[in-house]
Amino acid sequence: MATFYADIADLRLAAVLAAEIQLLLADRASLWRNPAIAYLGDQSGSGSTVRKIPMAGLSGYDAMAAIAENVAATDTAITDASVNLTVGRQVLQRSISDIANATDSVGLNVAALALDAVGSAEKRFTSMVCTSGAGFTTVAGSTGVAMSVNDWFSAQFALTQASASGPAISCLYPKQWTDLQSSLRAEASNLIAYTPADRSLLDLKGQGFVGTFNSVDVYVSTQVPTANAGADSAGFMAVQNAIGYIEMSVTSIRGGSEVIPVSGTPIFTEIQRSASGALTTLVHNYYCGVSVLQDGMGVAIITDR
């Protein structure tokens, strides 16, 4: 009698795992270490969680004034301002049991969980930047209306009219970006429609950096928050140094069984062991603070979500 697969259930498995893990679909776009977001230092050993960023109206803020040869000059007061940044703890904790770790055949183990630290920190940082960008005072776009080239120009012109200069970035919700792509597709202006670089903006690129439009680097992220009770998305366009961040390195951890610092970053993973529960817990820590530095240097773009 022939041997059929259906007859040897005790000798075969219902399914075997492929040797490689496929990453689940997720938005992994990051604005971490983006040069447009100003890094303002490490707060470690400073005596506070708050860093005050001083600003002064110098180097062309005030113009000279003509004066007669025989008149004594008077003082012009320096305009000053400051903004505070507060560092906060960002964390991701995962635990894995010994049995789960020991039976691993695909690469989901303690080591893999440790490698998750940077990705999770980047995602949190991007979310913090997007949340900050949604709070710019100047607003472009219309509620419930798909984003268009006009909204883009409104944001761009608002920055120009505010004398905001320097390289600019824009971070949009995916729907905002695809609406802008639709608008670009219908754009009748020769200047835009026949610029070869603009054609490439219609390419499928997914999340993260999607291209440069009118010299503004465009990023797409699902971390862009909602506006108008969830009806809209609040993306932003801003020039360099409109948003800034501080970090805090924790260098003196005592009593920890194992601490894994991520090289060149303040991110570290502390491994905690529960012998009675046979559990290995990984705690990824990242201390940072993000805030708008100069309100006039950015524009919130609020359009249909």
Partner: protein, 234 residues
Amino acid sequence: MGHDFGTGNTTAATSGFATSTAEALTGAGSTTRLRMPPSPNFLYCHHPERWQIMDGEVLPVLHKLEQSPGVANVSPRNGGDMSGAIGVKVKNGWTIIPHDVIPGGYVRKFEGAFGPIHLTKWETPRQHGLRAYDPKVDTTGYREFLRDLMKRGVLQPPMEHILETLVERAQAAVDRSAPHTATEAGKKIHEAEIAKLHAIEVACGMRQPAPKPKTKRKRTRSTPKKPPEVETDG
């Protein structure tokens, strides 16, 4: 008999132990917890320069000041001390809108599968199986809330120069689209921009609303007239 699934003597009601209805289970597991990403509690705030046109009305654009330590000066103290963040906002001209500005507050908290989710009271979460969708938004209710904030004086109406800016921006959009009406698509965009400008001008009191198109009165069928009585020779 192994089990008594009928109304035997060992039902929960008679066993002496407390009971409650079990969570509904599906093939995908329990669906009672929302699978949306967690989101922090927040305070709405408004800056006098943030305005928008919603269906022909000039209404404020609110911003969420989230209780998220590390963002916009929210301190890690006590799980998210907002006092510093609120101070900075107020100093920069923002108005903080407290939760109790309306009965029951404007934030709703849901226990999510990955942590607490805070939504506005006008957002209704939607989930099918394991997939959560963007919440359904009651835009009418939210608009009513914004209108109410202004009516009660919680937020001051926009200043004249802000209204002028709104009109200027809309006019600029019309001007930008004007030279591109050669194509059908360009024409439609231009017409839409003109409609938007008119709506803003009406909202700002700079233009009378267009008269509503007259609808033809539907002739109602009256009771059929009695046919004239015919005199009959009797």
